[in-house]
Symmetry: C2
Subunit: 446 residues, 2 copies
Amino acid sequence: MPEQPAAPRQLKLGAFMRPVSLHTGAWRYPGGWPDANFNFDHLKTMIRTLERGKFDAFFMADHLAVLNMPVAALKRSHTVTSFEPFTLLSALAGATERIGLVATASTTFDAPYHIARRFASLDHISGGRAGWNIVTTSNPDAALNFGLEEHVEHGERYRRAREFFDVVTGLWDSFADDAFVRDVESGVFVDPERMHVLGHKGEFLSVRGPLNIARPPQGWPVIVQAGASEPGRQLAAETAEVIFGAAPTIEDGRLFYADIKARMARIGRHPDSLKILPGAFVVVGDSLDEAEAIRARLDAGVHYDSGIASLSIALGHDASSFDPDGPLPEIPETNASKTGRDRVVALAKRENLTVRQLAQRLGGFSGLEMVGTARSIADTMEAWLVSEASDGFNIMFPYLPGGLDAFVDKVVPELQRRGLFRTGYQGTTLRDHLGLARPANRFFPD
Amino acid sequence: MPEQPAAPRQLKLGAFMRPVSLHTGAWRYPGGWPDANFNFDHLKTMIRTLERGKFDAFFMADHLAVLNMPVAALKRSHTVTSFEPFTLLSALAGATERIGLVATASTTFDAPYHIARRFASLDHISGGRAGWNIVTTSNPDAALNFGLEEHVEHGERYRRAREFFDVVTGLWDSFADDAFVRDVESGVFVDPERMHVLGHKGEFLSVRGPLNIARPPQGWPVIVQAGASEPGRQLAAETAEVIFGAAPTIEDGRLFYADIKARMARIGRHPDSLKILPGAFVVVGDSLDEAEAIRARLDAGVHYDSGIASLSIALGHDASSFDPDGPLPEIPETNASKTGRDRVVALAKRENLTVRQLAQRLGGFSGLEMVGTARSIADTMEAWLVSEASDGFNIMFPYLPGGLDAFVDKVVPELQRRGLFRTGYQGTTLRDHLGLARPANRFFPD
Ligand SMILES: Cc1cc2nc3c(=O)[nH]c(=O)nc-3n(C[C@H](O)[C@H](O)[C@H](O)COP(=O)(O)O)c2cc1C
Ligand SMILES: Cc1cc2nc3c(=O)[nH]c(=O)nc-3n(C[C@H](O)[C@H](O)[C@H](O)COP(=O)(O)O)c2cc1C
């Protein structure tokens, strides 16, 4: 039973989770859980709070190598290691009832038969709550862990991803929904006429099928995409049902939203069949001052060595000789990304930051952020929603579990009061929560 | 805290699980659960019964294709599709406290970085209860699902498996047990000196590392092997800690046991560091007659079409024209396996079976079986144990959940009364249950 969209349009909320938080300084925050990467009980507590807050989904990032960063930053980062997504989300499926479970999986370094099986199995185990965040893996170090000397080229990665999607969805459709007859009397368990052998042979992949799993409860697990490049956007417009966006401002959000929905219109997809959810780092306090103090305390947890590494990368210029407590000096233009550099210079000016503060800010988190009270945060979210800059957000919490508790206890009720967010789950599957239709089986359309 | 072996030596018991049972007729047995392949609640109920029975481990088979069988058999078989092992066992980890969780994974059709991560993650989630059943995948249809035109040759599969094992265990050792410092004061999260970059380049695999997971609680998840060929036995003697055997008689069991332990002695491994657990199909009744009636009723659930296909394969001769209700006719010798043929002919003679009964027996289950009362079954198990034909068994249940309930309620107490089986778990990890030492880290031996 798909959820009825209320008037006004409601936000969709995902939680983009790293066990300790995405902020690099979070593990040092008082009351944080520095050991959460391998502490399953902590994860269970967190996802239950998210479910209490009626979140659409728990999103799990994934990386196929220790993140490539200088040793000075590596040794200070809690983001180096954590649970593998399928094992974690399956275990969390058993600890929850309704919340969606979105796992990241790479089309560059895995096989479609494995991916199709695991997501189908997770969808069965969770009663229709699985989603697949398709990534092509940009970290070149991953290639070295999978037998390659160098990374697969960007365009090739995306061509393979497109074909991979076709194979995986074709494998999910191996059995008609009514294929499993289980007629004890006649002794017929499965009707072979309702089983399809895919027989795919394409540019990159050759996969016979059928999948050895019944069709998932959702038909297909929900398709998520986060690519930002031209081929990434096109793949999303053609295949995704959720985009995990990275727009840093509402203006960028509107441009991205319009671009994707226009691409969809060109290929005849209904705009509502894809939800755009930019990542948002949300710090909530009872006053703006309190929120800013939390933010400053978090940033202070970023060690100068790792902050300065991030700043150097963003500037395309070695920042280690700058005076930490002085303002950002004028620096010459370089070949590095001009957009990134300009953004950093503007940020330093706007907030009047020292080199140290700037380094710590960049070393912590530097995308879209909402720092304020429940009311001001709800105002911002509402503005994004009504101006078609997004269909909701993927929330990143500043530190865990405190930052998550604050969001669920303060921001969620404020959004509910305004009619901008559900007060209870209406359906049981992730498709129900997101208002997405169950896809027909391409081989057994009836 | 490893369990103290009692005197007399105690049995180790695994449960070799297919959700509906391994017996092909089981889904038609009254009170069976024909829908268990994708019914997570049923699986939860079963594993909780196993844990109540103090089983060492739940073993999950795995196949990377729909099993290759004639359509006449396929349509009547419940073994075609079921959950994927990592998603299932992770979900079951959350529903249990002590029982081990052994997943089958192929070294021929997967990448060591993925395998190392998933087992490490399952070990963390379950608090040290994971085991890896290493298979090289004998079903040639699997190759067609992974981009190959034909199957990888047997010897090459085993050479790759050996190298794969070295890489996976090397990746598990990426971090010293004390690598994660998490010193909030100084801001050091991980000590890079206690992280090892594997840098493996071998005949089949090239993997840089490190793994992006902390060392598993058990050091390494328990290594299981089921290969029966010469290279399969050698791989087991070199690497395995549990062998899932297939000896059909106690004499075969003793020969196999002696062979493996001799291979271990030759390479300097202690014999107790590997437990040999043959698969045993156990049908328990309150009397021998009752047990045999259960068995006959199960076999009667095997449809004649699929039974006759199994019989033809076993004989190497088309049996479809035989009189179903007559005795097995004399058949000419063929090129097919002589051992298999002789075994079938002997079985028909010994039990005076008609062609139909023989076909149904073979179509159901045809390896080592124990059909009797709790006492007679315990007698048989004790005989295997004391004569060094095995260190325990992997139990296969005739139908579920009833056959499992009967085993736990009747056979387990009888074994416990004789001091042949634990009455409670002494430790918390699968290594503890099996009495296996935690391996040292090869890069950080201190
Ligand atoms: C919010 C967000 C989350 C992402 N999560 C992952 C991830 O978990 N794993 C991964 O390999 N890449 C991840 N990416 C990277 C994207 O998949 C993509 O590679 C990147 O945005 C660059 O875009 P492009 O691949 O289209 O060039 C993420 C990107 C964004 C914006
Ligand atoms: C009890 C038992 C269970 C097995 N389970 C699996 C399995 O789950 N998946 C698989 O691919 N092979 C499985 N096998 C097959 C073995 O891994 C192996 O391929 C087979 O015994 C033939 O031996 P060989 O590979 O040494 O020639 C199993 C074998 C036995 C005896």
